[in-house]
Amino acid sequence: MARAGRQQTEELTPRSARAESVREIAQGYARERGPLLEILHAVQAEHGCIAEEDVPEIADVLNLSVAEVHGTVSFYHDFRRTPAPDHQVQVCRAEACQAVGAAELWAATEERFAHREDVEVREVFCFGNCALGPSASIDGQLRGRVTIDDLATAESGWSR
C-alpha cells in the first residue's frame, strides 16, 4: 500500500538529513519579522508534514521555546503531523455549499472513500467558490458544482 511505503522511506531517511534540511529552511526565514508560519509552511511543503522532531529544530533557530512552536503548529488546521496519503479530497461544508447539497455530498464522499487508506477526506469551510457550489478540491484542484459522479470520475483516474 502506498501509505505504508511512504512511511517506510521516511524511516529510512537518516534523521540528521531531515533535521539539517529543517534547520536550513528555518534559517532562510529567520531574519524576517514573525517568520514562524512561513517556516512551517515551507517545512510542510518540503517534507509533507511537521514531524515531532522538527519542532525543536525550528524552536532552536528562532530562539523560541518548544512549547511555543508546538502551540502554533497544533492551533492551525493546515499543519499535519504525518505525511498526507496519495490522494486528498476536501469537501466544503459551509452554508452556501449546504444550500446546494453539500451535506449530502460530504456524507457520500466519506462513505465512498472510507475503505481506501490512500485517500484522505477532509471537511473545509469555504473555498470562496460559493456561487458555484457545492465545492470540493481533489488532489489540490478546486472544482465547482461537484456531484458524486465527479468524484467517481476522479477516482477512476487514480491507479491503485
Binding site: 512551517l40 493546515d78 499543519f79 444550500a99 469551510f125 458555484l132
Partner: protein, 511 residues
C-alpha cells in the same frame, strides 16, 4: 489573429476554464489571453472574442463545445447558442455602479500598462501631492466604513495611526475572508491586484508606514500567486520599494499565508498569526491602530476597504459619499451565493434592497423553488425569512431588521432547507473554529450542538422538551454576553433567528 479571453479566476477554473483555454489555444489564428472574471460567475467559463463590435461573450463553454462554436462563426462573434452578445452591453453589468470593481476582468491581472491606461495610480499620485492630514480628511469625507464586517469609519482609523508617534508603523490587509458566501476579496485580488496594492500604498504613505503585509488565507492559492506576481511587477515599475512613484518614500509589501483558521480573520487574531503565534484573540484596548503588529501603530483594513481608496483619492471623497443610504455611504460589493440562479459579484450603492438583489439581480433560486431563507453577513449573520427581504442594505437598516451587512455576502436557501440543521451547524462551526480563549464560546458551542440534537430527537409534547429550549436560550445568552469576540458573541444570532422565524423546523418551539 483573433484574441480570445478565457478567465483564469479560480471559480472559472473550478468549472473547467483551463481546459477551454487549452482547447482554444490549439486553434489556428487564435491568441488566448487570460483575464480575471467579469463577475458573472454563473456564466463561467465565459469566453470573450474580440471583434469590431467589442468583446462578444459565450457563456458556460466546455472544451467539447469549442469545435461547434468555431463552426458557427464564434471567431467573428456570431450569435449562436451560448452567445450573450457584447459583454459590455450586458444589462447585469451595466446596471451596476462599479467603483472598486471597475477594472475586473478587462485585462490580464498583472498587466501594469493596462492598469495605468484604465486610470490606475491616479489616486496614489494625488495622495503623494497632498498633505497626509488632507488625505485622511478625504477618506473621512467619503464616509467609507470598514467592509470587513464591523463597519468602523476607515478615515478615523487612519487618523489615529497618522497621529500616533512611533518609529515604525505598519499597514496590514485582511484577506482572510473566511465567511461562507463571500468571495469578493478573492475575485478582486485575482482579477485586479494593483487596485489593492495602490490602496495599501496610499494608506502607507499617508500614515507613514514603510512595511505592509497582506494576510491571505491558504484556501486561496491563486490569489496568493497573483498578488506575489503583482508585487514584483509593481516594484519593478517603481510603485513599491525605496522610492514609491518617485516620491522618495519607501514602502515594502509582502504576502503572508494563513494556515486554515477562521478566527484569524478577526483582526487581533490575524496580528497574532502574522507574528507567528496561535491565532488567539487579543483583548482590546489597546487597539491595533495604536499597538498592532509588534506593538507598533498599524492600519488594519479589509481588502475591499483598501480597494475603495484609489477611486476616493482620484475622484474625491464627495463623489463616493454621494452614493448610498443613511450613514452607509458609497458602494458595496454584494456576493450572491448558495442556491441562486445568477451567482456572482454585484457592486451597487448601499441601500439597494435584499429583494432586488435576490430576485432581480440573482434571479431567485437555482433550483427554481421558492426562497425560504437568506443568510446575510456570513456565518454569524441572521437567517432572514422570505417575507423580510424588503430591507435596504445598509449597516443601520439591516441591524434594525435583525441582520448585519458583514462582508456583503448573501446566501440563499430554497424551501427544502432544514433550519434546525442550519442552527446546529452554526454551533458546530463555532466549536470547530473557536480560538479557545473563552469558555462560553469553546464549551458553550459544543453544548449548543448537543442541545439542538436533543430538541430535534425529542418528540413534540414529550416531557422536558420545553426545558431544552430554555437551556438553549440560556447558552445563547451566556455566549452573547460572555465572549471576548464576535465568534462566540454572534453565533447565537443565526441560531436565534432560525428559532424565531422557523420554529416548525424544530418540531415547534414552546410559544
Amino acid at each position: 489573429m483573433t484574441t480570445v479571453w478565457v478567465p483564469a479566476d479560480s471559480s472559472a477554473r473550478a468549472v473547467g476554464a483551463d481546459a477551454v483555454a487549452a482547447a482554444l489555444a490549439e486553434v489556428e489564428g487564435v491568441t488566448v489571453r487570460r483575464n480575471g472574471t467579469r463577475g458573472m460567475l454563473w456564466r463561467e467559463p465565459l469566453v470573450e472574442v474580440e471583434t469590431d463590435r467589442g468583446r462578444v461573450g459565450y457563456a458556460t463553454v466546455a472544451p467539447h463545445d469549442v469545435p461547434g462554436l468555431l463552426e458557427a462563426g464564434m471567431l467573428e462573434g456570431a450569435d449562436h447558442g451560448s452567445c450573450i452578445g457584447v459583454v459590455d452591453d450586458e444589462p447585469w453589468l451595466t446596471a451596476q455602479d462599479r467603483v472598486s470593481l471597475a477594472r475586473i476582468g478587462l485585462a490580464e491581472p498583472t498587466d501594469i500598462h493596462a492598469y495605468e491606461a484604465q486610470g490606475g495610480w491616479a489616486g496614489l499620485r494625488r495622495a503623494l501631492e497632498t498633505d497626509p492630514a488632507d488625505v485622511v480628511e478625504e477618506v473621512v469625507t467619503s464616509g467609507l466604513r470598514g467592509r470587513g464586517g464591523a463597519g468602523f469609519p476607515t478615515g478615523v482609523k487612519w487618523r489615529t495611526v497618522l497621529q500616533a508617534q512611533a518609529e515604525q508603523k505598519f499597514v496590514a490587509c485582511n484577506l482572510d475572508e473566511g465567511d461562507s458566501g463571500t468571495f469578493a476579496d478573492r475575485i478582486l485580488a485575482e482579477a485586479d491586484p494593483f487596485t489593492l496594492l495602490e490602496g495599501m500604498t496610499i494608506a502607507a504613505v499617508t500614515v507613514g508606514a514603510t512595511e505592509g503585509y497582506i494576510y491571505c488565507r491558504s484556501e486561496y492559492p491563486d490569489a496568493i500567486a497573483r498578488l506575489r506576481d503583482a508585487i514584483a511587477v509593481a516594484a519593478e515599475h517603481g510603485y513599491l520599494g525605496d522610492d514609491v512613484a518617485g516620491s522618495g518614500r519607501s514602502f515594502r509589501l509582502q504576502v503572508r499565508v494563513g494556515a486554515g483558521a477562521y478566527i484569524c480573520g478577526e483582526e487581533t487574531s490575524m496580528l497574532e498569526s502574522l507574528e507567528g503565534r496561535r491565532g488567539e484573540v487579543r483583548a482590546k484596548p489597546p487597539i491595533p491602530a495604536l499597538r498592532g503588529l509588534w506593538g507598533s501603530p498599524t492600519v488594519v483594513n479589509n481588502l475591499l476597504s483598501f480597494a475603495a481608496i484609489p477611486m476616493i483619492l482620484a475622484d474625491g471623497g464627495e463623489a463616493y459619499a454621494a452614493r448610498g443610504v443613511g450613514r452607509s455611504r458609497g458602494t458595496q460589493i454584494f456576493q450572491l451565493a448558495g442556491n441562486i440562479a445568477r451567482g456572482g459579484v454585484y457592486e451597487a450603492p448601499l441601500g439597494i434592497t435584499l429583494r432586488e438583489l435576490v430576485e432581480d439581480v440573482g434571479g431567485g433560486t437555482r433550483t427554481g423553488r421558492p426562497v425560504r431563507a437568506v443568510q446575510v453577513g456570513g456565518p454569524l449573520g441572521a437567517y432572514l425569512p422570505a417575507d423580510r427581504l424588503d430591507v435596504p442594505m445598509g449597516y443601520e437598516e439591516l441591524a434594525e431588521a435583525g441582520g448585519m451587512l458583514g462582508h456583503g455576502g448573501l446566501v440563499v436557501f430554497d424551501d427544502t432547507v432544514d433550519m434546525a440543521r442550519m442552527a446546529r451547524f452554526a454551533m458546530e462551526f463555532c466549536s470547530v473554529e473557536s480560538c479557545g480563549k473563552c469558555t462560553p464560546c469553546r464549551i458553550g458551542s459544543t453544548r449548543g450542538v448537543e442541545t439542538i440534537d436533543r430538541i430535534t430527537s425529542t418528540p413534540a409534547g414529550a416531557e422536558g422538551r420545553d426545558q431544552l429550549f430554555v437551556l438553549l436560550e440560556d447558552l445563547c445568552a451566556t455566549m452573547t454576553t460572555g465572549s471576548l469576540c464576535a465568534m462566540g458573541g454572534l453565533t447565537p444570532v443565526p441560531v436565534r433567528s432560525a428559532l424565531t422565524h422557523f420554529p416548525e423546523d424544530f418540531g415547534g418551539s414552546p410559544r
